[in-house]
Structure formats: C-alpha cells, structure tokens
Symmetry: C2
Subunit: 226 residues, 2 copies
Amino acid sequence: MQSICFTSGLYQTEIERLDQLVDRKPSLLKGEFLYQSGEPFTALFAIRAGMVKVFSVNDLSQEVIHGFYVPGDIVGMEAMACQRHEFCAVALDTTSVCALPYPQLTRLAMEVPNLNAQIFSLMSQEIVTGRLHSTILAQKTAEQRLADFVLMMSGRLRARGYEYTQFRLNILHRDVACYLNLTPETVSRIFGKFQKLQLMSWKKKEVLIQDFDALQQIAQSSDQGN
Amino acid sequence: MQSICFTSGLYQTEIERLDQLVDRKPSLLKGEFLYQSGEPFTALFAIRAGMVKVFSVNDLSQEVIHGFYVPGDIVGMEAMACQRHEFCAVALDTTSVCALPYPQLTRLAMEVPNLNAQIFSLMSQEIVTGRLHSTILAQKTAEQRLADFVLMMSGRLRARGYEYTQFRLNILHRDVACYLNLTPETVSRIFGKFQKLQLMSWKKKEVLIQDFDALQQIAQSSDQGN
DNA sequence: CGTCTCCTTGACGTTCATCAAGTATTGTGG
DNA sequence: CCACAATACTTGATGAACGTCAAGGAGACG
C-alpha cells in the first residue's frame, strides 16, 4: 500500500514494518479537515487518493494557500516543531489518507536508518518547494504564474504515473488565484486568453493541456519578454 | 560551545558527543561562500558569529534571497533531499561557523533520539518560516514588509540574547529589497519616511529602533488600513 | 584621494487589484 | 427530477501601488 510515499529508499521488510503502524482512515469528504490550526499535532498524513490544500488564515480571515497535495504526498510536517498545527489542511475532493502516528513513526525511524533518511529528505524537499513557491510569487508575472502552475500540477501527476495531459483537478479558480497571489478576475482573464490561443483549457474541473511547449515558454520567458 | 543551536532538548553528555563531531571552520570573510549551487551536500552549518544570506539565482542572474541567518541558526537543510546544493549561502560579514558533517550527524542522531527530534524540529521550523515569508510577500504592502522585516530581525537577535533596539546589521538595502520583493528605491523611500516619523533609523549598518509599537502597528495594519 | 558601489530623490508608466454587473454552474429541497 | 438559491466565473472600466528610468550625492575601499 505504501508503495507511493516513503518507500523509494526502503527494503520490503522495512515497508512492512511501516505498514503496521499506519492508521488507515476512512475517506474524507470534500470540505472535511485533516487538521486545523490550533489542534495538537499527532500524526503525518500520507495521501492515497484525492487532493488536499494546506493554508493559513490571515488577520482578515482570508485564506493564504501554501500548497496542493496529491496522492503520494505527505502533509503535516510543518507542525513537528511546535507539536501543534499552525496551518489547516482540507480535502478538496473525496480523499483517502493514512495517518502515521508521530511517536510511533519516530520510534520506528530510530530503528530503520533508511526511514529516518526518507523523512529528512521529504522535509528538505518541502523546504525547497516552499522557496520555489516564494520565487514564483516574487519573480513571475500573472501569465507566467498560471502557466507554471498548470505545468507543475501536470508534472506532479506525471511523476506519480497518472494521466497528465488531461485530468480532473478539483480546485476552484479562486483557490488557484489565492495560491498564486492573484485575483479570480485575473485568473479568469488569463485562462481565457490561454484557451483562445489553444494552449489549454480548464472547464468544469477538467484540465486539458494542448501545447506544453508554448506553456513552458510562457512560464519561463525572462520576465517581461512575453 | 554548541549552547546555541541544537541544544535546547539535549543532555550534557549528548551535547558533548555532538561537540566531538563538529568541524570548527576558520572564519569566513565577507563575500565568501559557505556553499554554492551545484556543490555536493556534505554538512549542515551552525552559525556561531556573523551573518549569512541564502539565495538562489534566477534566469536573468538576479539573486532571489530566501533568508538571513544569525548566530544560533543552522543552514543547509534544504540540500538534504538531493544531496546537492540548489542554493547559495554567503557570509555578509566576518562569520564563523561549525560544520556538522552529514553522515556522522545522522549516525549520531540514530543513537540519540533527542538529537534526531531536534533536527526534525529545526527542519519543520524552516518550513514554517518559509511559509511566513511567502505570506508576507503575498499579503503585505511595502511599508508593512519593511516594518515586519526590521521587527523580525530585532526579534531574532532578542531571542538569542543580543541587543535588539540598536544593533549592527550588515545587510545592503538592496538585499533587503530583494528579500522582500521590492526595489531599492522603494526601500529607500520608506526608510526615509520611517526616519522622518522617528520610528527607526538605519544608517551605516546601524539599526536603531525608536518606536516598536508604531512599527508593530504598521506591520500588522489590516492591509490598506494605514 | 579617487573610483566604484550604494543610496537617494523625482517624474512617469505598467501591471494587476478593485469595483461592478451580468452569466454560468453547483447544490438543495420540494 | 426540476426549480431556485447560492456560489463561482466572466467581462469591462477605472485606479493605485510600486516598478522603471534617470541623474545626482554619499559612503566605502584601496
């Protein structure tokens, strides 16, 4: 079962031991929380199916979205420091997850060096991802951000063996806007433009990418080049 | 010596074992690199004195600054996933660091649960810090970002027992601009305004904070409130 | 003491947010 | 299963915050 998350560096026997401590949760419905800000931290969550967004809420109770997580991803690592959640994680779709209870996980990690290294690696990757996100917010135009976003989601699905030119993506455009620090209006205008240019379409939760190269070019064009 | 970095959760005997694997480096001069993008990852670095900035370089060879690190901080954790640096770390001042060789560190961590937990905690904290940085870039006005930045640096010095109302900060305003996704011109204008209002001054690398409350208020004002 | 980099100050322009109003889509209860 | 309400998306007109460009002044380093 855990063939997706932690396992790239583990032996079969190690995977089996990991399986034993996994707490397989019932499916979450759209809108249900994995965790909320303020709750004590008890476990990491491995996503098996569906999609999750992680966000915080600012002073004016607007969401600030920090990431969308797909099957194979682990969420919750940001709470290990305080042993308390400062962020919220909510299902965007019917979602199934495995809980990895933290005390048991660390205990097992102390016995299985490969598992410990895997956790380090995942956390390190999360730091890098966060910095990339910052960079995109800071350096790219609205068009670049959107092209980048679509390609990134496609790439992550691809990396995990899913269809990546045409796929269901149950994310509100409003949430995309929020993740990329844009407004829904801007997102709408730019997706409209992309569709007119036959680069891609995103209607009714269905994404279709028609021209990867052109999107890539937009995403990378050296700032005001476009 | 290591009374600053990892040690909050360690016993004396554990600290001593950590001390044994520390590789105490000679001082770095301003402008010298701790590591550069592309180099293999060999060690984490604990900063003992001075200041370090971590950054990446974008397509147009402009720096994107991800953080400034002060004594007591650990840098390099983002490279654990790939075992290769994707970022650069450079001394902004005469800086002294300890290298914590990664293989030895992980080996020791396997024997000392407290140390392992400490590393998890630091990495988790780094994820949170990155998300806060994103949030500031995304949600705050130029004035708020600058007020926030000054208070943050002050707060970090304070947390580590240094002077925090008046202190040396060897960071170019250009680098502050880069970190906060602003231009040097904007930074100059706003610091000029803050000085006129007697909130703070920053001249010749010397920061003086005159009115914490007012800065706090600016940093937090609910967006366009100010 | 001179050069180079950094900082300052002003005038102007651009990107994207805001506001507003209308259309589509989704969800719900009868 | 349909009708209606609520939410999401679209499209246009306007505006503001900050970037860009330019030129002058101060500080730092050799």
